[in-house]
Amino acid sequence: MPQILKFNRRFAASFAAVVLFVCSPARASGASNFDVSNFRGPKMTDLYYVVMRDADAQTMAITSGKLDVLGDIFRAVDVERLEKSGLVDLSMAANFHGFFVTFNTRKFPFDHKVLRQAASQVMDRINWTRDLFSGYAEPASGFIPEISPYFDGDAKALSYDAEAARKRLRDAGWTWNADGRLTAPDGQETPHIKILCPPSSVAATSTEIAILAAEGLSKLGMSAEAQPMDFQTMLARVDERDFDACTNAWSMSRDPDLLYAFYHSSWKDIKGAYNLSGVADDELDAALLSLRNAPDEASAREAAILSQRLLSELVPVVPIYSRYSVAAIRKDWDGVYANDRVTSDNLYTLLSMTPKGAKAGETRPIYWNIPEEIRTLNPLVSGTAYDWTVLGSIYDSLISVNPENFEDMPWLAESWSIETGENGSILTFTLRDGLKWQDGFPLTADDVAFSLEFLKKNEVPRYFDSVSDVERVETDADARTVKVYMSNTSYWHLHNIGGMIILPKHILENVPDWRAWQPTNTRHKAADGSDMTELVGTGPFIFKESRVGEYVHMTRNPFYMLSGGEDKK
């Protein structure tokens, strides 16, 4: 740890100074002036997603002009190097990452709520985060990301106060034996606690936090140690519920319904499910069920707040920190969009970026880094974030997320509504007028209906949770309105269905085996008779070609809904 502290402190000041200038001074509130019509594009005709794995090589490449956009920068040393070069603009944003210390509440001693509360008070998340991350992470105190519209600022984990923690235990009847070991009110001595964590070679800060957490527990009179182990072994142990405590990180989302997956008692003993702590509380269960089945936004918000407050009392996990995203873009580009929630490597930058000083219509390729090779561009089986970086510029969903306040925003659907019918929620989406697929064929409500029915019929695992409750889908004669009838009531159906990619019926209905479908290798005729691959969406860029492990080449979509019309045929 001393080495890490020294390393990060050295860069702390410069990091904060360098990065924050792009971001707004204060975190955005619920209000937003974001207007997607300001982003007409894409303005550049060619986009290359370039595979570069090594972080040093990436920084060399962007400073030497071989890359234009670099995201996922996670080393302070790279930020300093990039800042010193004077050639890039850096942006930093909070994100949905959350790191927790999880207690196994199924067994002694963490089956005692008061002990978990006290343990939370000896986890000095503010100082740990400052020392370990020096400005590129923030201490976390909530159970959902603080940038979520549903985050409840009053439902925070207890602040660090070791004395108060001991007093809390003393007041609850806990004692200390002659050796200073903490003893439960029933006389049971607390056992030696092992906090599972990945090895420092894999995740140095996770190991450090496990060590610090063990030191924190020792302030309560507990014997504890960090137990670094192979990551897969650790996951297997946690999956078997064979642990006292562990560190774990989640990539969450804006929606709080994931709290149901994390903390509802029905998931506590199911292998592969995510209630790792095993927390089981009737009141919490009821709140989480209300959250999952909330019929509308207001009741969803109410249930989300209640769930968070109950969690802050039950403390099945201790939130520690949330990592910031950092991205760099070369200064020779105009039209960069970033705020305190979105770094510059986003869709809106992609749409509006133009070379500085370029004449109207002048274009040059964009070189955008992806740190891992693309595994597959079959949208039905793709799983990695990097696959979806590429697929995200090809496929669209019905609704999108406002990048300033993370609330719903029209996308393929210009409007929508959610109501409760006899059997469950009914979602109605009205598509924008004049939508076209990248191959020139029109996108209609039939495509939406087909997408949902295809995914449900085939039980495509990646989309199974979103469509499993779809009862039926109806389209209106105007070919722009689609009604989705769900078999139960939940406000989150709107985000699950509305946020899902829409696939072209005219292509997918001819795919013999969706598992083995290689859309980049199979071709079809576009509306104008030209030859195109089957990787066809509605997004701003069209797949052109890829070389495995090297790059993916995309070209501008002339039919894109935000292209401004000048290219449309």
Binding site: V51, M52, D56, A57, A261, A273, E373, R375, Q518, R547
Partner: protein, 320 residues
């Protein structure tokens, strides 16, 4: 006797095939354990498990696997849903194109320098070979490669920073030169990192051999120095050199993970590492099976070549 060797090799291969299946299943976790995505329920994970046939009894999975190994039909990669053969085809040529020349060049350079150092004992040449060999043998590869990248691809941009082709790639004959240009710096780095081991090994063996009586006899007979060194001394150490060279060949296919990462090369090393880490059974099993096959074949070949190179070596006790 050659049939006995072949029989032994087949037995080794069978054991490897069985271990190849069971070791991956004994390892903690499974292909699903790394999927910690709160948006992917336990039920959805079960669907994925079924899609990959992991819900079948282990015995049934084993028989399917044995059939695949026997027919060289390795199935589909769990992460890309592409045939494993396609995965290997897209990676192995790059790896072989880099590692085979690297092996041959580093062996040739190491052998030459090792022999030179042994012949010139106590000289500056020997000291230089020992020092450079020790440095080459002991420095961390990623450090050397990053320094080379910084010096010759960034500060002095003589070589490309990444990959095995320019973006966009050139067409025609230029593409061949472009490919070779991209492989140059990784190749130089690998030769620089590998020749030392060869040089030190050869020098040690040659020093010992040059002190033998039959070498003294050859010198006393007035044979030219070059003939004594290469035809007499070096020939006598040829069998272990050949064995070492041939047993290095399977490594040419398995790749060099760090080199591939630093130079962003699309090779078999990172495929193998990722397959093991993510429990991508079809890819990992196929890759290890092929490597085992190559190792067994190279071992057989080494036995045969040793017999050819050294008349004292005979297969299966012919001397008796």
């Amino acid at each position: 006797m050659i049939f006995r060797r072949i029989g032994g090799a087949a037995l080794v291969l069978l054991i490897v095939v069985a271990l190849n299946f069971f070791l991956f299943r004994v390892m903690p976790g499974d292909p699903l354990s790394g999927m910690m995505d709160p948006k992917l329920s336990a039920e959805a994970k079960d669907k994925i498990r079924a899609m990959w046939g992991l819900d079948k009894p282990l015995g049934e999975q084993f028989f399917i696997y044995v059939g695949q190994m026997a027919t060289f039909n390795f199935g589909m990669s769990m992460t890309t849903q592409r045939p494993v053969w396609d995965e290997l085809r897209s990676r192995v040529p790059n790896t072989v194109a880099l590692l085979l020349p690297a092996l041959l060049l580093s062996a040739a350079l190491g052998i030459y320098l090792g022999v030179k150092a042994a012949v010139a004992r106590g000289s500056l040449t020997e000291k230089l070979v020992i020092w450079s060999g020790a440095v080459s043998f002991s420095v961390p590869s990623f450090f050397v490669q990053i320094v080379l990248l910084m010096c010759f691809a960034y500060t002095l941009p003589l070589f490309p920073l990444r990959g095995s082709s320019s973006i966009p790639p050139p067409v025609g004959a230029t593409a061949v030169f472009d490919y070779l240009w991209h492989l140059s710096l990784p190749l130089i780095s690998l030769v620089a990192l590998s020749f030392g081991g060869w040089a030190l090994y050869i020098r040690n063996m040659m020093v010992k051999t040059l002190g033998e009586d039959y070498i003294l006899m050859a010198v006393a007979r007035g044979l030219p120095k070059g003939r004594v060194v290469w035809n007499h001394a070096f020939r006598s150490i040829l069998p272990p050199v050949l064995t070492m060279l041939l047993l290095s060949l399977p490594g040419v296919v398995s790749g060099a993970v760090l080199t591939e990462t630093v130079f962003s090369l699309n090779g078999a090393g990172s495929l193998l590492l990722e397959a093991v880490n993510s429990h991508n059974y079809p890819v990992a099993q196929a890759a290890f099976y092929i490597m085992a096959l190559l190792t067994v074949l190279c071992n057989l070949l080494a036995d045969l070549l040793c017999a050819l190179a050294d008349p004292r070596v005979r297969l299966g006790g012919e001397q008796a």
